[in-house]
Amino acid sequence: MSARVPLPRWVDVALLPLLNVVLAFLIGGIVVVMVGQNPLEAVGIMLYGAFGYGSGFGYTLYYTTDFIFAGLAVSLAYHAGLFNIGPEGQAYVAGLGVILVALALNGQPWFLTVPAMVLAGGLFGAAWAFIPGYLQAKRGSHIVITTILFNFIAVSMMGYIISKILKPANVGSDESAPIDAISRVPQLRLFWELFKNSPVNISFFLALIALAAVYWLIWHTKFGFAMRALGHNPTAARYAGISNAKVIMITMALAGALAGMVAVNNVGGVQGRLILNFVSGAGFVGVAVAFMGKGHPIGVALSALLFGALYQGGQELAFSMPGITREMIVTIQALVILFTGAMGDMLRPPLERIFRPRVSASAGDV
């Protein structure tokens, strides 16, 4: 076999991932056809539901906010060669930090409470991710397994804390006391009529800032360089004088802090209280978002928007086409992870064949 010809850059960064996503959606469409529904009609309803009217669009942006944070939490760790499957648990535990400071500062105006919630959520999320990071760095426990286990531990721990400690005596369901309206993260409908009754709040702008910050951190700082060096070749990084253990622990803590922002969006901005399982899968969507976006903030933003639209459009779909449930979205999510993540190189050989002549022609005789 001849040596591999590298693909043109645009094919590698844009065309290949796009084809993989298209493949995932095609198979999703085939499943929809198999149960006797019209996939094109479904896509139409979903597009309308996600972008067609103000409050639908607001919901899309609300989901997008969650998925950007979770996607960044997975991406950041992945650059350092760490597969963080724990954003779900990290966000859940961060909810505790958010509600504790929010209730302590209850009644204060939002510009005082929001920074405190961001800080506390970030700290709690970071702490929950730091432990697997520490176990990986110092004790060699595999981060994939420990982050999965920490998701389960978070569920039990938070279940106990919410139902036995935070729940006020006069409340029936398992949830904390509510945050006063003026202390919550302000929703965008206060400033723009457009968003009607949708829950999108200023955490969305926080997500945009996080995208830029992560980009800057990974590609324009010394620490980002150390992270990427570790991700590419731990041995080389070690010889270059980088303390791998330190980089692993800090990276995981940062990833956890990013996941923690999901709690600011939900606990602080939407429910205004801490409820059981408020993360409801957003952390896992982050895995799909990160792989589809190839770990790059621009990719993460685009795929978070796509999944945001899918989730909101999926709700709409469940109303309009009773044959299709929301779980179809989880299936699409799975196919996206499969084709962009695990089978990401499946289409590489045919693409290499297509693009080979042009490359060798421009390179001249060798």
Binding site: M1, V31, I85, S141, V330, A334, A342, M343
Partner: protein, 323 residues
């Protein structure tokens, strides 16, 4: 005497709760020993539980249900194999994708086919695997001590449960006494050595994945048409992950795997039993504290505070033949 009956009852539910864990754990053992990480056990349990229940509901036969359950697991293993053996993709990502795939498709197809909010129809009679009464169990039931033990604990399970227990010594024998077992262990530690000896790494890893699928398929079938009377949403409820934790806890060995699964099953049984029970001094033990124990124990082991869990060396690394 009352305490004794209580104990027998707890042990009995321990066994019932441990069976899917044992099957999934042994399933994971084969693939991980062959060097393929299988995070997808959870999804395979769920998928085969659905396949078995759907088939049993449509055909009325538990055995066809079992066939469908194993078939679903085989299909999922094939995807995992193509992604991780042929395409040399990331095995963890493939496993995560399979878990989501099962979670999404089972509910979606369940709703489209049966219109019961993701549940399959209630099964009864021949659609399920019923309990088998071992010889003399009813006659011996009244004999003190041994009677209860035999007729409650040992007798009265279904065929899949006995399969799970037989699978343990069989696995130990296959793994450590046969040529196939030796090769299986070798391919997980040093695939290159096997390749050099002229044995196909790809074929061996696919064989391991097939055994994995059969075992986890039986486990999923047990969940939906032996333990329960039908499929419901997300009924595997993290058992695949617990089995994975048990596998690590057992250091990838069959007999310790049995012991660990029984321990985790016991914790599960205890959790139901202790609800609302007041203890002297400590009062009521929160269910969450017991729920969390399997995960905590595994973490402590992984951290190397009690012994050391070392995975097969080539685990998770796709094998590329030199050219």
């Amino acid at each position: 005497m009352n305490y004794y009956t209580d104990l027998i009852l707890i042990l009995d539910s321990t066994v019932r709760l441990a069976i899917p864990l044992i099957l999934a754990c042994l399933a994971g053992l084969y693939s991980e020993r062959a060097g393929i990480v299988d995070i997808g056990l959870e999804g395979k349990l769920l998928g085969s539980a659905f396949g078995a229940a759907a088939m049993a509901a449509v055909t009325g036969s538990a055995w066809l249900g079992l066939l469908a359950g194993v078939g679903v697991a085989l299909g999922m293993s094939a995807i995992h194999g193509i992604a991780s053996i042929n395409l040399k993709g990331n095995q963890t990502i493939s496993g995560v994708a399979l878990n989501f795939l099962a979670a999404g498709l089972t509910t979606f197809l369940g709703q489209s086919w049966f219109h019961r909010g993701g549940f399959t129809p209630q099964l009864s009679g021949d659609q399920r695997f019923g309990p088998i009464t071992l010889p003399f169990a009813p006659e011996l039931a009244s004999v003190p001590v041994i009677g209860g033990l035999y007729s409650e604990l040992i007798s009265g399970h279904n065929i899949l449960a006995y399969v799970a227990f037989i699978a343990v010594p069989v696995t130990a024998w296959v793994l450590f006494q046969t040529r196939f077992g030796l090769r299986l262990r070798a391919v997980g530690e040093n695939p290159k050595a096997l390749d050099t000896a002229g044995i196909s790494v790809t074929a061996l890893r696919y064989q391991a994945l097939i055994i994995t699928a059969v075992l986890v398929g039986i486990g999923g079938t047990y969940l939906s048409i032996a333990q329960s009377a039908g499929f419901n949403n997300n009924m595997s409820a993290g058992r695949g992950y617990i089995a994975l934790a048990a596998l690590i806890f057992a250091k990838w060995k069959p007999w310790p795997a049995l012991a660990t699964c029984l321990l985790f099953g016991f914790l599960d049984a205890l959790q139901f039993r202790l609800q609302g029970v007041q203890f002297p001094l400590i009062g009521e033990v929160p269910v969450q504290a017991i729920q969390v124990l399997p995960y905590l124990l595994t973490i402590i082991l992984l951290a190397g505070f009690i012994g050391r869990a070392v995975a097969p060396k080539a685990s998770g690394i796709p094998y590329t033949k030199e050219r």
